[in-house]
């Protein structure tokens, strides 16, 4: 059975976020913020959650390697700034140490006696929104494929990498499907790399979440993204089902026209490998 490997410091897994920063990402969503702004916020929260889940009183345990690939105009580069910008993939402890800045936010929490109190919380920022130029999706996925191949070669026994690709438009540097096919064929002993695609929109209309086929998808671009997406492994399908999504045998890790909640759920579902050792 694939996707069963326990995740440990000896056998970490890898999450790669591939983020479209093209000009159209500046369109305003129903949240009142641009797509780029909203995606950046969700990505920062996802990184925060990943770091938190690896943090103990005595430090951060390297259960995960994490990378962000950002693309726009003719540029494909690390989405991290500062000390992390020199490479794509970094151990989660390095991610925790190199933020762009720390903001202070308020959050409401249970006080343990039936009440709610507000707590000041430090919130790290790694990724700032950007939206400019075209959509070099093919080049971005080529870079991703190369990164995934290198990682799998170095971690043959690990749970395979998960790639979460977020885009709002069509590729402007050629069709990326053959590159995506190649990416999904890269494997560790525990299974093939997973590629999940999220299409964000401001258009409204029919939302298609974790479909099993192309029939409801209205254009060639959405069908292409569907074909580029991996089927959800059983444990992720169950998680998506638990969140209320209609999941069937063969559901793919693809959301078209997703609303803000879908974006949040897409990141949460995609970053939950089955087993973290030493629960």
């Amino acid at each position: 059975m694939p996707y069963q490997a326990e995740i440990s410091r000896e056998n970490p897994t890898c999450f790669l976020f591939v983020i479209d920063q093209s000009g159209s990402m500046d369109e305003i969503t129903e949240t009142g913020r641009s797509k780029a702004d909203f995606v950046a916020d969700v990505l920062n929260k996802t990184l925060y959650t990943l770091v938190t889940s690896c943090s103990k009183a005595d430090g951060v345990r390297n259960y995960f390697d994490v990378g962000v690939i950002a693309y726009c105009g003719s540029e494909v580069a690390s989405g991290f700034g500062g000390a992390l910008s020199g490479g794509i993939v970094h151990p989660i402890s390095a991610i925790s140490e190199h933020t762009l800045r720390i903001e202070e936010r308020q959050k409401k929490v249970d006080d343990g006696a039936g009440g709610i109190i507000e707590l000041k919380t430090k919130f790290p920022i790694w990724f700032d929104p950007k939206s400019i130029g075209g959509t070099p999706m093919r080049a971005a996925l080529s870079k991703t494929r190369e990164t995934v191949a290198d990682w799998c070669e170095a971690h043959p026994g690990s749970y395979p990498p998960t790639v979460l690709h977020v885009t709002d438009g069509q590729s402007t540097d050629g069709a990326p499907d053959d590159v995506a096919d190649g990416l999904r064929q890269i494997a560790t002993k525990d299974g093939q790399a997973l590629l999940f695609n999220l299409h964000v929109t401001t258009a409204g209309g029919l939302e298609i979440v974790f479909p099993t086929n192309e029939t409801e998808l209205g254009d060639e671009f959405s069908r292409l993204l569907f074909r580029m997406s991996s089927p959800l492994p059983l444990h992720l399908a169950k998680l998506a089902g638990d969140k209320g999504y209609a999941i069937a045998d063969g559901s793919r890790g693809f959301i078209f026209n997703g609303d803000p909640q879908c974006v949040v759920d897409f990141f949460e579902i995609g970053t939950r490998p089955k087993l973290v050792a030493d629960r």
Binding site: Y48, K56, A57, T99, G112, T121, P124, R279
Partner: protein
């Protein structure tokens, strides 16, 4: 029935030589025993497990007030506001641990078992398993258990429970020719029920384990054979 003044045997071994053991146990001469399995993927489960077993041994009850006091004791260990952001976030998320508490009253006339999580109590007569609590089948260990947390919001599952009924089993040594009581964390519990299901005699195997060295050897051999999950492993045995 048996005299209850002597302490039961108790052994614990970490998942590896390099790792800190996040299980904890406590025994008193008054017949109160407790063990707790701290969940590694949380802030400081070892301290949380230690607080739970010590408090249970001192005051063997389980109420919402008891839990709130335990959480308050844990929170005093850290100055939340001075923690680096990642540790503050992990501290807020909480530390998780099971709690298995046993009270042996009147030399076994009554054995009261409390369990939250997937640590296992086993009542035996000779090599025969008479009862297990809270799980009865090896397959149940594959489900994520609900654990006690230092973040009260994670303990809401208790709100739906009758704490004096849903989390408790009452047993007795009466009528048993060769009574024994075992308490163990999940790796050993899973091993025991799996061995039973294969028609083997896990109680007979455990009965021979009388020293920490023998326990360590037994656990290492079963791990190496692929029969036992590599995890912190703890046993309290009242033979």
């Amino acid at each position: 029935m048996r005299p209850q003044s002597r302490l039961p045997l108790a052994f614990s071994i970490a998942k590896s030589d390099e790792a800190r053991n996040e299980d904890s146990f406590h025994r008193t001469a008054k017949g109160v025993y407790a063990l707790s399995d701290g969940a590694s993927v949380s802030f400081d489960s070892a301290s949380w497990a230690r607080i739970l077993v010590r408090r249970y041994a001192r005051k063997p009850e389980f109420t919402r007030e008891w839990l709130a006091a335990a959480i308050a004791e844990f929170r005093k260990l850290y100055d939340r506001d001075s923690l680096p952001w990642m540790q503050q976030a992990s501290f807020d998320r909480g530390s998780f641990a099971s709690l298995l508490g046993v009270r042996v009253v009147d030399a076994g006339r009554l054995i009261q078992v409390l369990s939250v999580g997937d640590s296992l109590a086993v009542l035996c007569d000779g090599d025969c398993i008479k009862a297990t609590f809270p799980l009865s089948d090896a397959s149940e260990f594959s489900q994520s258990p609900q654990l006690l947390c230092t973040n009260p919001a994670q303990n809401v599952f208790l709100d739906k429970m009758d704490l004096d009924y849903d989390l408790v089993a009452d047993w007795t040594f009466r009528g048993l020719a060769q009574p024994a009581l075992l308490c163990m964390t999940d790796a050993l519990g899973h091993w025991l029920l799996s061995q039973r299901d294969r028609g083997r005699s896990p109680i007979g195997v455990l009965r021979k384990v009388r020293t920490p060295e023998a326990f360590a050897r037994f656990v290492r051999e079963e791990r190496a054979a692929g029969h036992m999950k590599r995890d912190d492993t703890t046993l309290i045995a009242l033979w």
